[in-house]
Symmetry: D2
Subunit: 338 residues, 4 copies
């Protein structure tokens, strides 16, 4: 960390700043510049509160040098994290395909869809039981009953199940879920992240609507700091000025997060684009960029879906897409599932 | 609501669409265009799920005509909402000044700051007990103890207290709080909003980091749909590409929200700018633009603050600013407090 | 186009509005809604100035139904545009690789780099002679001399040359250039676009830093409206809140622009990411998504480059990447160059 | 400037880096950190090309410490710049009101509007002769004839005239214009900026649609580096996710630019909001925040305007607003015009 001093910094204020730093075990180096003096900090600066430093009279600006994330940082954990999910794993170079409807709507709907997804090659099943909706007047999900239906669908197909939590008070309801998803709007719901950190379940952490990648890693850090290392980062599109697509799919985050972090990466082209004709090309692009998993919305009858109708694939379209995905995986030497 | 049909829309698909609409009590009008046919919908379209319509084969695009918010909409509630807070009110044309530290840190700190704020002219006291921090390694607030200290400070000064909730499970701890704040990162924590909707406490709802005003109103709608009409909208700056300021203060939202909604408006120039020298000019601007309340961070010793040091005013600077605020309020014919 | 009337719209004002529309050959359809009346417009609404309509007393809002672009619109031109460039073409399903340095710096540099690019498989040569730089103190390019060196490099290698124009007054200097590039910062330099529309040269039009795709198409429309149909759309990344990458590569625009327009698409992963390790995965992703061309920065000695050093590939890295690109092209059944 | 070295930086690469820096007259200081080594640079770093440094093998990251703008920087020019405009000045603490139509449309229109503006208290006249429009099918302005009409309006009223240039080739046409405006879309049209730098006319430089304030200052620097110090910075709203307003008015930039630069500041609430009911409150807010000038769109008959109808004030509304502006100026002790 580097502190840039004001031109007219008083010696007394600088001494006070040095005392604060020393009290935290940080040593300092001074550089006299032509126009500006700076102080270089040596030690573990992740514990320093930058706000506190900004309040010191002599400080003009502060620049971080080290990343503020540690447990998620590949520098300190060079090996890829591989996360067990029932009898399979995410992050070992294989490709997992998480498919299923936006919302669980009925037993028939989720079982029919799950079987179709499995037949097409999906390796896990997704489905929303608790739904975050912008309007209080929209369908809010089946809740606990939805989770029970997902479990039935798992019994039927053997596919591990992935579903979203919105409230730490509901955590007990997720005891038999395989992967717990945190939605984009809750990426900085820190109380929820802490509660999930005390669980040992795999957590699929979606990037916030306008979050930076550093913020995503800091939210992973919240979970990991409590002891749960099983975090999967998920790109689901970010908000930009573009209006033709629902969001903008930041594909470059996949190879970049692979450099910066050891955590597995999932891509969700359904939410990222919101347009069904773009899901296939973006899925192929995510696979060739190194994604460990894809999350794809598939519905047995999108025209009757209670949410996200426009971006859910029919089983037929999904199956057609899976032919190309499998072919590309083969070309790349990657296996589907384990 | 208007539905734009695809050029090659099949009659059967259009009939199916019509049936869905009729089943919801919506009648339709067809317009044959030169290049495109459209359908105008007549009835209460707020209950329609646009995603479901997008999934119909014949639909190219959909445009909302009516606002999706109803209870927060001035069209249906022309009179200003006036919210009682202990023995005062927000929203009756008077100006409320909510001042206090970012975080409650100790009894001495909060009492000293509260007295200084009151002496300078503040009409309510703010202070964070539960703190949403980007990093798990930063100070997370005193929690329940912080609320107790705020209550002590209220006993000492008579100032009503405002503090932030992060988890609906904590709601009981807020029983003796006067205004419950929802932070920007929780603006779309819908489970929390629903829980607060069942309370009757005034809710200070902060706009999300990159939320639109319609999304802010829809979050207010979540609270109001559960029965709690006491919502105060708060502008605290939005994320933009500008890096010199912490956020960008969207001042024009104040007169605009006054047109679109009947709810009172609060402005938070401390978080909106993050720079103490900008707080005074932005406060004056907010007052002249019609804000019902200001929320200002004041700390008895910003240099030792455990959070947000750089943007908290000293009591002296706050007192200097309040001289100008009071003078401007007088010029505008507005009273401070009740 | 649809006009939403104010609740209290006066009959006289609506008549005036109807008269304006009739005078432009537009006929109207009225829909009486529960809360709102709307008017549907039938006819060629691309000539209507929405600002003028907004100024009418009775108008609350206006929604476009038709796209405002015509010549660039696939609806009216279903066949792909194929653009001749010397003895090759862009847009016929083949893959063009435009490679070369950010700036032309010397004869040796451009010739050495051009030969290396050609040997690795590049099919066109890029190089900046006029450079748009944020700071007036940065290298501004060699100007006319740079174009002469590019022509020499073409003589040496046979590669068609692509270079950027910044001022319509310079157009004569580009007489022997094969493709004229318009940079992101000039995407809405309408005077320049009009001048290029009067030329018959292929124009590589880069998307503006925070432009929407509709704005990009409208800028293409400026060129095409003057008679030059040879426009190539180029994605070079858009500005987002992400700071780890220089820009955010909006890959989904490639299949989306293929749906909306008949123009060929180029992807520029060098500027889109600004990080050399991301160029290969993003290039592969662009190819699999359907890009007609890639534009890649390659420099014979990036460490000495006068601009964009950090994102330029060495000839060796470019050659390594081209092995994978060629292999992927083969897998997809696409040829390089013609 | 500070350079952060890679963990595994080779001594040879660091030496090469040091040589590059020495060759530019920069001396260096090394700091050994716990996890990272950094180099502090001492000397005039504004001439360094960061891209070139990023290309060195040993460099992980670079942080600027000094601002890259010099001539526009208040640090090096503590006194306010006061710019003469005919027989008045901008920047001496007085308030200039630049009013007039979006576009010059006819002699009658501009003269009628100019007289109305003057009678209401405007001190300068604006009007567009060359119009940057998103669509090639929209009205493009009267061009040179428009400038002639503005000159006539000046003869009639004595108001200095402000109008926009879009092409450096047109500069001769602006010989008798008092203030030349550069529009948001041309803020980084560097060739135009350089041409204007060779003129001595006052330049009203509008902030780009999604430009940072540093970029605005760097564009001012382009003009000033050529010798023209008469630059007025103009806030006209930035692009954000908000859709209710045309743009987001970044009011805090006014006091902030006053700290960072010595140049006068103009606020344009018409373009910043696009909604006529917001122009008065935002104008008052701009004045109380310290703006040196306001630019307001006024049209004698907005309903017939050829551009920007929805945001132009009628002369009556403008006159009503000017009563409040004058009253506020008096309250603040500021004079209108000289």
């Amino acid at each position: 960390m580097i502190i840039i001093l004001k031109k007219d910094a008083q010696a007394e204020s600088v001494r006070r700043l040095e005392d604060i730093l020393k009290s935290k075990g940080i040593s300092t180096n001074h550089i006299q510049g032509a126009n500006q003096n700076i102080i270089g900090l040596v030690g573990d600066t992740s514990i320093i509160d930058m706000d506190n430093l900004y309040a010191q009279d002599c400080v003009e600006d502060i620049r971080r040098v080290q990343e503020p994330y540690k447990k998620a940082n590949r520098k300190f954990h060079p090996d890829d994290t591989v996360i067990p999910v029932r009898d399979t794993v995410i992050g070992n170079g294989s490709l997992q395909i998480i498919a299923g409807p936006c919302s669980v709507e009925s037993e028939e709907q989720i079982i029919t869809t799950a079987i179709a997804c499995k037949n097409a090659g999906a390796t896990m099943l997704r489905g929303g039981a608790f739904k975050p909706r912008t309007s209080p007047y929209s369908f809010q999900g089946m809740g606990a009953d939805g989770i029970k239906l997902l479990i039935k669908a798992r019994e039927e197909t053997g596919l591990p199940i992935v579903t979203e939590i919105m409230n730490s008070a509901d955590l007990d309801l997720f005891a038999d879920v395989d992967v717990i998803q945190v939605g984009a709007r809750n990426m900085q719901n820190f109380e929820l992240l802490k509660a999930l950190g005390k669980s040992s379940k795999p957590i699929l952490l979606k990037r916030g609507l306008s979050s930076t990648l550093e913020e995503l890693l800091m939210s992973a850090e919240y979970i990991m700091a409590e002891g749960n290392m099983n975090v999967i980062l998920c790109e689901r599109g970010i908000r930009t000025f573009e209006t033709m697509t629902r969001n903008t799919f930041d594909l470059s985050m996949i190879p970049l997060m692979k450099e910066k972090s050891h955590l597995p990466i999932c891509a969700d082209p359904s939410h990222a684009t919101g347009i069904y004709s773009l899901i296939e090309p973006m899925s192929l692009a995510a696979v060739i960029s190194g994604a460990d998993a894809l999350e794809i919305e598939v519905h047995n009858d999108p025209k009757s879906a209670l949410s996200d109708g426009g971006q859910q694939l029919t089983p037929q379209r999904f199956a057609d897409m899976m032919v190309k995905i499998k072919d590309l995986a083969k070309y790349l030497g990657r296996t589907l599932g384990k």
